[in-house]
């Protein structure tokens, strides 16, 4: 599988959700960077680099993940939003083409969505 050994950044402020995501990603042969519970640690980790893709929770204990999203977009690193927001379709015009996994979504589905994104990018 092409996703083998890919390094996936997980940003999620719910510890159990992060753990669940980690299991699902690791089951598919990827390795997890993080999980990061806060915006500050997520930003630092993203800046360090060495990331192939990311799963981003939008609301992190009163802050939003968008600075990390902007950083990843600039670096052309694929990512998905994983959010419990009421109406995630209107996140922002700036992230129109970013896939959204509304909570609650199976972590397996989140992983599959992300891997599909990685594969599409590899084909181009």
């Amino acid at each position: 599988m092409k996703v083998n050994g890919k390094r996936i950044l997980v940003v999620e402020d719910e510890a159990l959700l992060a753990l669940d995501l980690r299991f699902a990603l690791e089951d598919r042969g990827a390795s997890v960077v993080g999980p990061c519970y806060r915006l500050s640690t997520a930003l630092t980790t993203a800046q360090l680099g060495g990331i192939d893709a990311a799963v981003l929770d939008v609301d992190l204990a009163g802050e939003t993940v968008f600075p990390v999203a902007d950083l990843l977009k600039q670096a052309n690193i694929p990512f998905v939003f994983h959010t419990g927001r009421h109406n995630p379709q209107v996140l922002s015009e700036a992230y129109r083409d970013i896939p959204i996994c509304p909570k609650p979504t199976n972590p397996e589905t989140v992983a599959d969505t992300l891997f599909a994104l990685i594969e599409r990018q590899q084909m181009h």
Partner: protein, 447 residues
């Protein structure tokens, strides 16, 4: 924009006030001018009336004086007594004075051309008259009574007297005409003024009534706009609350799903897995029930959370000893701390203090640092300094054994502690277990 609508109706109301005030002021100025003109006209008529009265009296006196003079002359003609000539001479002088007075009076008047002309003629006629009277007196002095009577018979005197009477009547007619026309024009102006005042009153009334109607409408519009605005803001707030609630419910379902899948991964026995899942979801539900949704900085008290989560696990014959100051947990800490306490309590029942009859469990919490007093006070507003929770299990006979492998339960404690911005440390002794949770202080620097 509702504020725009309210401002618009306010502007309209102000415009109505200003224009009504302007209309009333204009009406009052016009009314004052009309009244002043009517009063001036009335005064003029009164002045003319006085002048006319004086003139009429003076003309009457003039005629009487001539007749008196004539009477004196006649007395002398008949008697030849010089005594009659004294009043004659007096009246003659008086006549001259009265004529001068009348002239002065008429000259003061504004429109007296015809009267003065008549006065000139009276002067001429009276000179003729007095000349004739003088001639008669002269004839009588010569004792020529026939000549004196001839002078009377010739009729020149009577002619002059008739002329004087006619001229006096001319003056009187002019004066009366002047008086009549002055009063007539004053009355006309009064009528006009009354009509104008009535009209002004009507216009003012109409302005006031229409202003009242317009202002009423404006106020109704403003009230409606305010009501709409209030309705909108209430709907917005309700939307916000419902969005927030939906967000939380979705997150909660996500957490429950992850409890199910992570517990399922860790357990091989389906019954054990089901029980643990149920216990963890229950802990989640208790922590959730405790948290105050309104205030995210002060969501739940640590003491309340400890008793809500731990109390249901207390076995028969045991109790939980707990103590500590009031410490408020922020919303993001309530759920993970609840899950940690749940894991610790289930472990105590299964392997620890509550697995034996002699075991005791103590839970205490405190602020870090020396100044406990100020720390507790600060804690009221949300902990701005670090604090810790100490979980102590004691078994007198040393029954406890440290687990050899790290189970999923301890993994979950570690993860939840990280989420709650806390460090967890455990120490196993011969007589029991001590778990210390060190919490970072709240606030931006704590994240």
């Amino acid at each position: 924009m509702p504020n725009e609508a309210i401002a618009k109706t306010r502007r309209r109301t102000n415009a109505i006030y200003v224009s009504v005030a302007a209309v009333i002021v204009i009406m009052y100025v016009l009314g004052a001018v009309a009244v002043a003109r009517a009063v001036a006209s009335e005064n003029r008529a009164r002045r003319i009336a006085e002048e006319t009265q004086t003139t009429l009296a003076q003309t009457g006196a003039l005629l009487i004086t001539v007749l008196d003079a004539e009477t004196g002359q006649r007395g002398y003609l008949l008697t030849g007594d010089e005594e009659y000539l004294t009043p004659f001479q007096g009246k003659r002088a008086q006549f001259g004075n009265e004529l001068a007075d009348l002239r002065k009076q008429l000259e003061q008047q504004r429109e007296a051309g015809p009267q003065l002309a008549a006065l000139d003629r009276i002067q001429t006629l009276s000179t003729q008259r007095f000349d004739l009277l003088d001639k008669g007196i002269a004839a009588r002095r010569r004792n020529d009574l026939g000549a004196a009577l001839d002078i009377i018979r010739m009729g020149g005197g009577k002619e002059a007297m008739d002329g004087i009477r006619a001229e006096i009547n001319t003056i009187r007619d002019f004066e009366e005409g002047r008086l009549y026309s002055a009063f007539a024009s004053a009355r006309l102006l009064q009528d006009k003024t009354a009509a104008a005042l009535g009209f002004l009153l009507l216009v003012t009334l109409i302005a006031l009534i229409s202003a009242g109607i317009l202002i009423r409408r404006a106020i109704q519009a403003e009230t409606a706009a305010q009501f709409a605005q209030q309705l909108r803001s209430e709907r917005d707030r309700a939307d916000l609350v419902s969005r927030e609630l939906s967000h939380r419910v979705k997150n909660l379902f996500a957490v429950i799903m992850s409890i199910i899948s992570t517990t399922g991964r860790a357990e091989t026995d389906a019954r054990v897995a089901a029980r643990k899942i149920r216990e963890r979801v229950q802990a989640l539900s208790r922590a959730h029930a405790l948290s105050n949704g309104q205030d995210t900085a002060q969501s739940a008290r640590l003491g309340d959370l400890v008793s809500a989560i731990v109390q249901p696990y207390v076995p028969q014959g045991h109790k939980v000893a707990s103590a500590g100051p009031e410490i408020w947990l922020s919303a993001d800490r309530v759920t993970p701390v609840g899950l940690i306490l749940n894991e610790l309590a289930t472990n105590a029942v299964k392997y620890g203090a509550w697995s034996t009859p002699e075991g005791t469990l103590t839970v205490t919490w405190a602020f870090d640092g020396n100044d406990q007093q100020s720390a507790a006070q600060e804690g009221v507003a949300g902990p701005t300094i670090p604090f810790r929770l100490i979980w102590t299990e004691k078994v007198p006979n040393g029954h406890l054994t440290e687990p050899t492998t790290q189970g999923f339960g301890s993994n979950m404690i570690e993860l939840s502690a990280t989420q709650a911005r806390a460090e967890v440390s455990r120490s196993w002794g011969a007589d029991g277990l001590t778990v210390v949770l060190r919490f970072e202080r709240d606030g931006p620097a704590g994240g």
